[in-house]
């Protein structure tokens, strides 16, 4: 039962849900939440491959990935706050109008 394909499949399902969320959400914070799903799926893959052969290196890479994701969330939320301050709205369709 401890089959790596179960964990890889779970990661793929999480990633697919996250991709759909990124594509459909219109609220900037909602998109950040979906990106968290994507990052979490990747971490799950790294840990699974660590457990099934790579050893501690899998967890080392997962920790690198965690730190990168946290940085990305901090900067992303700063951009959302800036967007709110300039537009009073964090719907991304309005933000893409701003760039024209």
């Amino acid at each position: 039962m401890m089959d790596i394909r179960i964990f890889l499949s779970l990661a793929v399902v999480l990633f697919t849900i996250g991709v759909y969320g990124v594509l459909t959400r219109r609220n900037a914070v909602g998109i950040l939440l979906s990106i968290e799903l994507l990052a979490n799926a990747v971490n799950l893959n790294l840990v699974a491959f660590g457990h099934f052969g790579a050893g501690a290196v899998g967890q080392v890479f997962a920790l690198f990935s965690v730190a990168l994701t946290v940085t990305e969330v901090i900067v992303g939320l700063a951009i959302v706050v800036l967007l709110y301050r300039t537009r009073q709205d964090i719907t991304v369709d309005l933000a893409s109008e701003m760039s024209r």
Binding site: F15, E36, G53
Partner: protein
């Protein structure tokens, strides 16, 4: 047998909470579903013999990131109360893109014989992880600390009041 059932329930619950992150109408509920999903993943890490990473997951993600997300929600609040609309734009094209990706990956996973042959080994203790971080992966580790500092400064510069 009991462990198998527990694993299946855990996987199902993770997928359900991930689904509600994307599907919930209220943004605050979405954040809390994400917290549930991250905690479930932490339990899966324990099942994968990685308790150190599980504790990092709980402290950093469910402790830090969820708080940051709630801050982000509350700072960009236009109305009072906790019902914050989180609109989605569903379309068949977007569902097809995501679904095709998922199906392709699932097909690849379940038809690769090398993956079926893999058996569980030890994941490595916190001791080994620490030695790798300060040995073989020393330079990426230091680069990461510089990146965290840069991200922190960048966030302060972006979000501060005044001449931004």
């Amino acid at each position: 047998m009991l462990a198998n059932i527990a694993l299946i329930v855990l996987c199902a619950w993770t997928v359900v909470s991930a689904f509600f992150v994307v599907a919930s109408k209220n943004l605050v509920h979405g954040v809390f579903w994400l917290a549930a999903m991250l905690l479930n993943t932490a339990v899966i890490y324990i099942a994968l013999d990685a308790p150190f990473l599980a504790s990092i997951q709980v402290i950093l993600y469910t402790g830090g990131v969820i708080t940051m997300m709630l801050f982000g929600v509350m700072l960009t609040l236009r109305q009072s109360g906790t019902i914050i609309p989180n609109p989605s734009q569903h379309s068949p094209g977007r569902a097809t893109v995501a679904g095709l990706f998922g199906l392709t990956m699932l097909w690849a996973i379940w038809t690769t014989p090398e993956l079926a042959a893999m058996t569980p080994t030890t994941s490595g203790s916190a001791d080994e992880i620490g030695k790798l971080f300060l040995g073989q992966y020393m330079i990426p580790f230091e680069a990461l600390s510089v990146l965290l500092l840069a991200g922190m400064i960048g966030a302060i510069v972006l979000a501060r009041k005044g001449d931004a």
